[in-house]
Symmetry: C2
Subunit: 488 residues, 2 copies
């Protein structure tokens, strides 16, 4: 529903503008001379935005950056050596672009994956002395099973209602499998975010709900659209009122298998998950400022998150977002442009399992919030962008028409007013009233790879990444040079 | 090329028939009364074929059979307890249909997968004390690395020519990665078999070629079209003139990663593969005869292979082929039909890694080859069927026009003359002159799942499986009741 609503609004905006022009053209009698409206963007800015767009579409800088993050550094789970290497790398690259770079210190969670394996050890029709392998992964924050694993009957439920209906008697001592399906048709029609929202609550809350009823472990059907026996990891959030039980995600196929066998007779699983939660570790948000020529104190954040899950190499989630943000600064420097406000590139730490980076930044910069002119984040992959999501006051809705007109030439002309524009890391800022921005990206295939081992560089089409960089660079530079303040 | 050629021939056959009819209709002067040609199929047979087709399209028997093989029994690698359970199960089901069932004994290879893991331990840009996980699997027949694994530099080559050009100096002591790409565009255009043929020789011969030059292990880029970090297993065939070195398949993504890093500097891999080759084990082809009413000694084989690779549950390769063959017998019995010749359902053992079942059958039945009227095998998945491939003498090309006409109503009317019609298991028979038959199946997605952990029941669309059963049942029954011998 959300995306559809967005599109409708965008169309109305465009039509609205057209109607206004037509009405103006049809006037027959002279109207009173209006007070001249100061332009939103100077002719020079408009020209520079076009230069930026064209340069972005031709540049391979962003692709080389994400290639380095994904291939040469690899998975960058918060607290890992790779995450720290990535901090060091991005800081170095931003310095090389001539930015003022700071590392803002954080204390982040440090969870490490261990062994993860499972097998059905009893099921109807089985050959003696065999098992059926179950492909799964631990969810972030999961506690461990005993090192040798645990063995229990599996109870399959579709949702929380079914779990509650079964109650303690039928759940205590069992492994619960939440077989809630990610809606692939919804995703195929570009409502992937909605499909994700519906399914992801079982990832976040399933273990707590099952634990309350005495289950010994909680498994979910992987949240994602693929059918290639890929488990999708992601964060589990224990609540304090339930015992912490091991939490994992089986593949869609394995969920189907168990769901097919369970009505035929007893299904028992041996489950081994041995992750560990270590002491919190020091880490950093990487912040690089390209100082504004007129209002250096006013900041436009351009960002992605540097940490990734550990199964893949974090190319689309979110090496791509970091890379296009770096590209914005690279192009502005390369073209010798001088933004009026400060463009602040941020590579956030710990988006995936704690949001410590985003939260800490908002807290540390609390007194400067009024000077945060806008906050942009790219965290929806690297698919072809269609335009910009923006969360601004209604009276500023027309402020970006000129930007949309420029971006239209690379297929990204939709301007979509959305109160949730931005991203998780800039969420603490947008909640405080900072206008949020994010590219609208093709997400039809994003959740096929999201949080899986297959989030790798080959999933990025270089030209589509460049198109995203064009949207980000143009939007950021427009914000930096907007001739009016954005109403708050 | 192969499939395209097939299609062209099919179109010519149809057009040819049409032209003959037109020519007949345009004759103006009476022609000499021809000697009446005896019909190829009796009106009763034609009626029964239509009944079979309609019943097949409505039946879920085949789907329930493949569901049991895949879900309740699971992976069925030759020599495994599951393979033996499957023998027992299918024999029981065929007896329940009223067939005369025999288990024909074989001695089959017994290779078992062990641990399989790999990581890059040195590569350009890496964070200290980290590694990058490489997702891979052992290939069938592979020997093991030492239990603790081996570590060596990786040399990437595209093909055998590049390997030879590097020579012993640059290969000895190294792990060779054959990065030969499966042609996804070819597969997308229904030439998947051709794409497979081009790539699969590296799976079969790579380890031997690398071993000859002193490599310590041989890896291939997985042979298949998917991009979901799935390794594809399959058989490796050591030749006797080279040392046997461990042989594995990395995923497409891991091949890309290594190929991207290698030109930047040294890439070293730690590789653990601990498969074992055990003593040959006894196993069986399952054979069920539905005796012919007029020519019981004449046999039409209807078959699929019961063994599968061990990573998935062998739903499309080839539980589906066994299931549609069983369905042919089920429907004939259910409709109380009486084939004139014997319909012999065979569930072959050991297609994947030895072909012992097919070879042994041809040898054991050598003296009855002349009585093998035709041999049909379904081993291309469960995708929508387009028609029939058949390998018959040119003078018999028109024998199946009536069958094609019936199958046309379920979209399977293409009759494609192909000298390779049949399947691997019936290959030893077709080489001896037995006419071969197989359904033409949609294979555009088949190699995304082929020999992977994702070959699972959900990949089968029940209605498409039923369509395949219709093709198989109609073709088999037509052959059993054909009023003329097939020329040999």
């Amino acid at each position: 529903m959300k995306s559809h609503a967005k599109r409708t609004i965008a169309v109305h905006l465009i039509l609205g503008a057209a109607l206004v022009s037509m009405a103006a053209g049809q006037e027959t009698s002279p109207s009173p001379t209006p007070t001249p409206t100061p332009p939103l963007y100077s002719p020079q800015t408009i020209s520079e935005l076009k230069q930026l767009q064209q340069a972005a579409l031709k540049s391979d800088y962003a692709y080389r950056q994400v290639a380095h993050l994904a291939n040469n550094i690899g998975p960058r789970l918060t607290g890992s050596a790779q995450a720290e290497k990535a901090v060091e790398y991005v800081a170095g690259e931003l310095k090389a672009l001539g930015l003022e770079v700071q590392l803002e210190k954080l204390m982040v969670p440090h969870w490490v994956r261990g062994e993860e394996s499972a097998a059905l050890v009893e099921f109807p029709g089985m050959a003696e002395k065999t098992t059926q392998k179950i492909v799964l992964c631990a969810l972030g924050s999961s506690v461990a099973t005993p090192a040798e694993g645990l063995t229990a009957e599996v109870v399959v439920v579709r949702d929380f209602d079914e779990l509650e209906a079964l109650g303690k008697d039928k759940i205590a001592g069992k492994i619960v499998l939440f077989n809630y399906h990610f809606d692939k048709q919804m995703a195929a029609q570009s409502h992937a975010g909605d499909a994700y929202s519906q399914a992801v609550k079982y990832r976040g809350e399933g273990a707590t709900a099952a634990g309350r009823l005495g289950a010994v472990a909680s498994l979910i059907r992987s949240v994602g659209g693929a059918e290639f026996r890929l488990p999708h990891t992601g964060q589990n959030d224990y609540k304090n009122d339930a015992p912490k039980i091991p939490a994992g995600a089986v593949t869609a196929e394995d969920a189907d298998l168990i769901a097919a066998l369970a009505p035929q007779g007893t299904v028992r699983m041996h489950l081994v998950l041995t992750p560990q939660t270590l002491s919190d570790a020091p880490s950093f948000n990487v912040i690089g400022d390209l100082k504004g020529a007129e209002h250096p104190e006013q900041v436009i954040i351009v960002s992605g998150h540097l940490d990734s899950w550990d199964l893949g190499t974090g190319a689309i989630d979110d090496g791509a977002g970091v890379a296009v943000s770096m590209e914005a600064a690279n192009l502005i420097q390369k073209l010798h442009l001088h933004p009026k406000r400060t463009i602040r590139v941020i590579a956030w730490m710990n988006e995936e399992n704690g949001l410590v980076g985003g939260k800490t930044y908002a807290k540390d910069h609390e007194k400067e919030i009024a000077n945060h002119f806008a906050a942009m984040e790219t965290d929806g992959g690297a698919g072809h962008p269609l335009g910009i999501n923006y969360a601004v006051k209604p009276e500023a809705k027309t402020f970006f028409d000129a930007v949309g007109k420029i971006l239209r030439s690379s297929g990204a002309g939709i301007l979509s007013f959305s109160e949730h524009a931005g991203g998780a890391d800039v969420g603490p800022l947008t909640k405080l009233g900072v206008p949020g921005f994010s590219p609208i990206q093709d997400n039809r295939f994003y959740f096929n790879y999201h949080h899986t081992a297959a989030d790798t560089l080959d999933k990025i089409v270089p030209q589509e990444l460049a198109e995203n960089a064009a949207v980000v660079a143009v939007t950021a530079y427009a914000l930096a040079n907007l001739e009016k303040p954005l109403p708050r």
